[in-house]
């Protein structure tokens, strides 16, 4: 599971987009009886479209305003999404049936269930794809430019508005994928989004704005959680990620792979 950040936008509604993705997929699979993969693709597309629409309607207005405005805005949006989801789908907890459910493989003496394999494989594939996209394609580089300096990017002929919509679409789509991958493990309910907070820990640990960093950070956080669940008293598992987050922020705020930015006068 991973939240990716290549833009300057910090999205506190990411976890709620994940939740929306998981619910949409559940709706397609269970209510409309579609296949898992079709539902997966549809959910991703729908949420991505939703992200783009969100940008066009709401978030575009705060471009250029202090980061605080964006943070508050996404927090507000997240609350709206949660409320809308609880009205649409109710507050029950659902399980999403998947092709990998209840199967496990013994690998080198360790039992690994297929769900986790799917999550790991999906995450790695996604990261690789995103990394390639941002490094090698024209659009990806244009996006990075747009996030660095909107004015200069605009002068260079990059359609900044469209780029931002696209960034939001991709970001929402990725969130939907994460939500769907996570759904079989953690069950779907409207508070799925709070797991997204742990993704912040991963992103900060790896360094904001660095895609390999986010991957490494995510794996590290996951490992720390597992280990603290096994070796430390009860209760530590839930907060381990946040403790790590605080320590990292105190010691090395830019994370493992981050860059330090300071205004030059």
């Amino acid at each position: 599971m991973l939240i990716y950040k290549a833009t300057e936008l910090v999205n506190f509604a990411q976890g709620d987009l994940m939740m929306l993705g998981a619910f949409t997929c559940y709706m397609f699979v269970v209510w409309y009886g579609l296949g898992y993969w079709i539902a997966f693709a549809l959910a991703m597309l729908l949420v991505a479209l939703f992200g783009a629409a969100l940008d066009a309607a709401v978030l575009r207005r705060v471009i250029g305003q202090p980061q605080f405005a964006v943070v508050m805005l996404t927090i507000g949006l997240g609350a709206i999404f949660r409320s809308a989801a609880s009205i649409t789908w109710g507050s029950e907890i659902y399980t999403l049936p998947t092709p990998f459910s209840a199967k496990a493989t013994r690998l080198a003496g360790v039992t690994v269930s297929h769900e986790y394999v799917a999550i790991i494989a999906g995450t790695v594939a996604l990261c690789a794809a995103l990394y390639a996209f941002f490094t090698y394609t024209r659009v990806g580089v244009a996006m990075q430019a747009a996030s660095q300096n909107q004015l200069a990017a605009y002068y260079m002929g990059i359609p900044v508005k469209r780029m931002f919509s696209l960034i939001w679409a991709i970001s929402a789509g990725v969130a939907a994928i994460a939500g769907v991958l996570l759904a079989p493990v953690s069950l779907i309910d409207i508070n799925l989004g709070f797991i997204g907070l742990k993704a912040f820990a991963a992103a900060v640990l790896g360094g904001f704005g660095s895609i390999p960093g986010a991957l490494v950070g995510g794996v590290t956080i996951g490992l720390i959680e597992l280990l603290s669940g096994a070796y430390l008293p009860q209760g530590f598992k839930d907060v381990a990620a946040y403790v790590v987050l605080l320590v990292v922020l105190a010691v090395r705020p830019q994370g493992m792979f981050g860059t330090v930015g300071r205004k030059k006068v």
Binding site: A69, M72, A79, S83, I87
Partner: protein
């Protein structure tokens, strides 16, 4: 437009700008003193406004004046509440001493959070405070000897100097007194060199540093002061709700506090109070609307015939009775304010006032904010 010419140093030192302002505040105070006689039914809600006002004041000094956005203020409220209850119930300390100790403990926690915060700016800080709040919430759940864990902890009514503040009216005056004291203190701190240093840090850290403001000391002070106020608010809050449980002090509460300062208007003490009124009153309004709105819908659909009216009534009724609606409404309000009135209620009030005092000459550009399109410009 009136121009105020200052002719004596006393005018600069005075807390109020002129006699008119002073009289306005005195009138407000008198109104608040007779309020319990006028609206005895809503007294509990008004008391909550005062406590929220303290919280808003606390977050306003941090977010509105020092520019450090905290997403974990509910944790400070919780620390204050639990510390106070622990001191009063388990150690049997006098009330005033206990509140002071609770404020000190909370301020200490604030400084602890503030120390790593020295190296962070903007979003990192918000995330760090959020993480802190989540950890503290877990601590409230697990540290059963002090907090009572998930079973919760009952709170007695406050007793000051042998006088019980058990009834609502007495507690109302207690909260009012504390709020006025805190407002007076904060207004004075903000006029002092410390307050000016905070504002300088908010506007530009680099400029402040160049002018000789010690970032580390002043940021930590801001955190400590804000957390200390929150501790006092927590003590009152504990008495207000009468029962402490870990699931009160959630992230949602922190977000409500932020909503308060944003809706009220960042960077003004008035804003903190307006925001508190707003946040405390919205649930009341919502619960009233829950009963009223279905009837309106039925009236609207009335011309379409009786079945349509009944259908509208039922549909709307089912919709507004949804439990998840309230946070959504809070979120919606937050989004609308950020989009259309970033300066909050206070900003709107200032604009209206300026419009009339400049009457034909008001221009919208007065309040336009410059936008920063470069990454380096957004770093402060």
């Amino acid at each position: 437009m009136r121009f105020l010419f200052k002719t004596a140093y006393a005018q600069d030192l005075g807390l109020f700008r002129d006699a008119v302002q002073r009289k306005t505040y005195v009138a407000l105070l008198v109104a608040l003193l007779v309020l319990p006689k006028l609206v005895p039914d809503y007294l509990v809600d008004v008391t909550l406004v005062f406590i929220y006002g303290l919280c808003g004041l606390s977050l306003m000094t941090l977010a509105g004046y020092t520019g450090l956005v905290s997403l974990g203020h509910a944790a400070f409220l919780g620390i204050g509440a639990y510390a106070h209850v622990f001191f009063v119930h388990d150690w049997h300390l006098p009330w005033v001493l206990s509140v002071a100790l609770a404020a000190a403990v909370t301020a200490g926690a604030g400084v602890l959070v503030g120390l790593p915060a020295l190296r962070m700016t903007g979003v990192y800080l918000s995330i760090a405070t959020l993480a802190f709040a989540l950890i503290i919430q877990e601590v409230f759940t697990r540290w059963e000897r002090v907090t009572g864990g998930l079973k919760g902890k009952p709170v007695d009514k406050p007793v000051l100097f042998g006088v019980s503040f058990a009834n609502d009216v007495a507690f109302y005056f207690l909260c009012l007194g504390v709020l006025i004291g805190a407002l007076w203190l904060t207004a004075n701190v903000l006029r002092s060199p410390t307050g000016r240093a905070w504002v300088a840090i908010r506007d530009s850290e680099i400029a402040a540093q160049s002018m000789g403001v010690n970032l580390a000391i002043y940021k930590t002070m801001a955190f400590g002061y804000s957390a200390g106020l929150m501790g006092v608010a927590g003590a009152l809050f504990a008495h207000k709700i009468g029962f402490l449980a870990p699931d009160i002090f959630t992230v949602l509460l922190s977000i409500q506090f932020l909503l308060m300062v944003v809706v009220g208007g960042l960077g003004s003490l008035h804003g903190a109070v307006y925001g508190a009124v707003f946040v405390a009153m919205v649930p009341v309004v919502i619960s009233q609307a829950r009963d009223a709105v279905p009837a309106w819908a039925a009236t609207l659909a009335g011309p379409l015939g009786k079945p349509a009216a009944a259908g509208a009534f039922q549909a709307v009724d089912r919709f507004v009775k949804q439990p998840g609606l309230e946070p959504g409404i809070f979120g919606l309000i937050l989004v609308l304010f950020i989009l259309f009135e970033p300066l909050g209620i206070y900003g709107r009030w200032a604009k209206i006032k300026l419009y009339f005092s400049l009457f034909p000459l008001y221009k919208r550009a007065t309040f336009r904010r410059q936008r920063a399109y470069m990454r380096s410009e957004r770093l402060r």
